[in-house]
């Protein structure tokens, strides 16, 4: 297993190196692996699929320029997701400022009352999420949608693994109270 892991890391290093040098095929391989995580996390953060898609695309533009400076392949995924989240927050801010209107949640996904599988109305969950800070939403989405572990959360947020656990615990507590 260790040998396989090492080989995978070596492959990823090679793909990153090629993509950094302008190899579009290599870059597309990275897109294939991570785009959906980025888009789906952004959807939870901003509650709007159009903005989420736009944020993910903007993140790829940044990644195209900055990929060469990535030294540790294992940081690729948290970095890409954190860049997308940052772009989503900026886009959301600008949209709201420009329109002076609330960006509406995609109602087709959240309609339907209480989800019997989880006992939570998704509209209530969306509403509760919107009352959290964007950084809290991002932390929850990275943990539960993208499946980040503590190390990846730390890499994405710039705080220690222990720190992310504490913040996650607080965010969960706030969300729980918002849902009561």
């Amino acid at each position: 297993m260790e040998t396989m892991a090492t080989a995978a890391a070596t492959d990823l290093t090679g793909v990153i190196a090629s993509a950094s040098a302008g190899d579009e095929v290599a870059f597309a391989m990275i897109v294939a692996d991570h785009h959906e995580d980025m888009r789906r996390v952004c959807t939870v953060v901003c509650g709007n699929e159009t903005i989420a898609e736009e944020a993910a695309q903007a993140a790829w533009s940044i990644a195209w320029r900055r990929l060469a400076s990535l030294r540790e392949p294992e940081r690729l995924r948290p970095w890409l997701v954190s860049v997308a989240v940052n772009e989503a927050k900026q886009l959301l801010r600008k949209r709201r400022r420009a329109s002076a209107l609330e960006v509406t949640v995609d109602a087709s996904r959240t309609a339907g009352g209480i989800d019997p599988a989880i006992g939570i109305d998704l509209l209530d969950l969306r509403s509760a999420l919107d009352r959290l800070d964007p950084d809290e939403r991002a932390l929850l989405a990275m943990r539960y949608v993208a499946g980040f572990d503590a190390t990846e959360l730390a890499a994405a947020t710039g705080i220690s693994p222990a720190g992310t656990r504490t913040r996650l615990k607080r965010s969960l507590d706030r969300l729980r109270k918002e849902l009561i």
Partner: protein
Amino acid sequence: MEDPTTFEDRLAIGLERLAGPRRPVDTMAITQVASTSAWTSKTRSMVNVTRFAIAAAVVALFGGFVLVAQPTDRMVVTVPGAQTEGLPPITGPAGNGLIAFAHDGDIYVGDPVTGESEAIVSGAEYDMGASFSPDGSRIAFTRYEEDPRNLPGAWPSGSLIVVRPDGSDERVVEPAYGGFLWAPDGRWLISLIRYEAPDRTLTMLDATGVAPPRTVTLPTLDLSCCGFRYSHVATFMRPPLGDRILTWAEDYGPWYLDVVDADGSNATRLIDEQWFTDNGFEYVGQPKWSPDGSQIAFDTWADEQSRIIMMNADGSDARVIGGGPSADPDWSPDGARIKSHRRPECDAARDCSVLTIIDVVTGAEHELVVTDSHIGWSSWSPDGMSILYTSGEQGRLSMIDVETGEVNELPWETDSWPGPSWQRVAAD
């Protein structure tokens, strides 16, 4: 088969559903767009500025008059901070001056009375975290080559920059690890340079550029918590003299709270792990000296909610203050009250935030409720009469009167953490 039993399990499923199903990805289309439009929002704004500057130059050349290139939402403001007569007291209440804040990588100052603001530092670099010195004579901030939130890996090093309130006399004080605090005297800046053992050192940087940096090694400093992304430097110098430094262990413990002399000697443990165990507390965060240095407040965690602890500067008489869940204690300038954040269950139809003001002598508290927005960051005005806060995802700046609860929205926004900083000036 889904059989979620805990809130966490059910939440995970709910978030998955809100995120929507995975879709096929047109990877080559995304790649082509990325490779041909690799620009950031900061770059975009610079492109717009450049276009505007070119247009202005053309008009100036052929139109026979000169335009001053400035965005339409900026107004020229006279900067009284540059001509302040006399300095405010080192600690305690002071007069309200300008407000410094960062937006889109530039540093602004604004007059909260007139609502006018001006960019005092702008350019292609990304400047964040504007902070007035306690004497109101300078503004320090951190400069990055571009938005550090977009860079891979660890939070990058920036440069610690100091300017006058009108943007003049800019000087690079020192490459900064990423966080800094002003010492109470308003001259020295505390910047962390290394936190890995055994070199757990802080630098004391002279904002005037006269004296060389001083290095302080803190034997009990444990900063495993902090990547300084939020300028979360785990030290604070005791006012008014800056003779003692507060350090603490955060996150999953073991929790403790220490003070050491400003030269790193004479470490004293104020509260230890046993104290936390005995009292059923977990976590120590945001410890703050009172303005006169006689007391310390911090937040902790008990029974699934944040509480605020207040104690004497020697660690004695530690006790919970406030009647409900509260976090992020912040002393009023006169040391008589503590502001904290509280988030009750708001009505489902609106967003809101609650700031709690606790009288540290009587324990009485009252709440300031801000409706229709969520407060992200807040601080006392220098005179202690109001609280400046940012809210919403746009980072709108507003002030709330501590006594009446009246809100005064300012026409500014900030996307920087830490938030805006209010200049202390000599009282009228």
